[in-house]
């Protein structure tokens, strides 16, 4: 574990550093994939839409974190604006980013680009998630439950599930699967929905192994509910596709 990277006088949190790298890489990849799949016009739309999606993701991630740490955030509402890269929550980022990106396309009357751009995002996100989960691994976040499995990592006085590593592998598998689907699927939106199904499954299953999840009442992990909702959304979409082309 390497939570702090010392660069001369700077102490950089490795989690935060890799998150920033992940955002840059993911952003660049998003535009490149858009170009590969839709030519220059889609790339132009991608680069116009991206800042809004990123801003929406940042706002969503912080709001989500704040709402589920409400007692703490209510006491110091300034925390909602504080520059802390640790106080972010992935489900909020995904929802916020998708909503903001879609709202922008709607307002600029570029609805027809929504599905191709969502597909491009689905191909770009797993890479960003891989980098970000390496950051979690280095900073010791996404702490896992104790286990006796041979690949357990020793962290904080116990052998634990390397949940960050599982998330890395899930992102890698998602990436591979989507690259494969991308060669078959013609219907715009298919990749985005496949992404939702795969990452939703990962969240539903892997979040159960964490001990630092954001929880709602009764100890239910919020990320699992979102994961399930993502799977159901993808299945529902697939079902509507079936009805329209009997």
């Amino acid at each position: 574990m390497l939570p702090i990277i010392e660069l001369g006088p700077l102490n950089l949190g490795s989690g935060a550093l890799l998150l920033v790298i992940a955002i840059f890489v993911g952003h660049a990849r998003f535009e490149r994939v858009a170009r590969q799949r839709g030519g220059e016009s889609l790339e132009r739309r991608a680069s116009r839409c991206a800042p809004f999606a990123l801003a929406g993701a940042a706002i969503g991630a912080r709001l989500w974190y704040g709402l589920f740490n409400w007692d703490m955030y209510r006491q110091s509402p300034g925390l909602f604006l504080a520059l802390r890269l640790g106080d972010l929550a992935w489900p909020g980022a995904l929802i916020g980013g998708a909503l903001a990106g879609y709202a922008y396309l709607r307002l600029r009357r570029m609805d027809d680009a929504a599905a191709p751009l969502a597909d491009a995002a689905a191909l770009a996100l797993p890479l960003a998630q891989m980098i970000a989960s390496l950051g979690l691994l280095l900073s010791g976040e996404a702490l896992g439950a104790p286990t006796d499995l041979p690949w357990a990592v020793s962290l904080f006085g116990a052998l634990r599930h390397p949940v960050a590593l599982y998330y890395f592998l899930a992102a890698l598998a998602t990436w591979g699967a989507l690259a494969w689907v991308a060669r078959l699927a013609a219907q715009p939106g298919t990749l985005a929905m496949a992404y939702l199904a795969l990452q939703g499954s990962a969240m539903l299953l892997l979040e159960a192994l964490r001990v630092d999840s954001l929880v709602a009442s009764g100890g239910v992990r919020v990320a699992q509910i979102i994961g399930l909702a993502m799977i159901l959304t993808a299945l529902w979409w697939k079902r509507t596709q079936t009805t329209s082309t009997p």
């Binding site: 740490n69 007692d71 703490m72 006491q75 999840s213 100890g219 509910i225 299945l235």
Partner: protein, 189 residues
Amino acid sequence: MTFSRQFWDLLLVATLLFGGVFIWTTRATSDAVATTPAPAPAAIQPAPLVGHPAPEFTLTATDGSQVALSDLRGKVVLINFWATWCPPCRAEMPAIQQAYDRFRDQGFLVLAINQQEDVASVVRFMSDQRLTFPALLDSNARVSADYQARALPSSFFVDRRGIIRVVYRGPMSRGMIEGAIEQLIAETP
């Protein structure tokens, strides 16, 4: 693919059912925090481990006073290692303050041990964040070394007899903090 609509309906319902049951059975329970209910100390050798007597230290607080851990026998003490540059440390401070406000009259004390920062920035941070518990200065990081506090924040809950009962590395939620304190305060020394 040529699955029928009924197939997707079934799959949707099955996923919803499986997912719901899975979420409920894997929900977080309070024993996620590593507590040991056994009242008997596991060892007599001081060590930064659950069941051991907390390693002794005397440090200077930001107000210049000397604070020795041994003087606090009879109180439940949260020893929290932190630094102002550490985001998760800053994140948990409001929750620690809240627990301090709630339990201080019942014999609970927080010792926020700052790692190797100058007194001015520590004082400024404490007053900016309106934190009222004592901040101690570990200027040569010797106490941090005794407690193996390499990862920040690191928190040690010490019971009234001076035995470490809960060790938590990484930021704590309010629930974790107050759960541990409630349990230790309820015990008779």
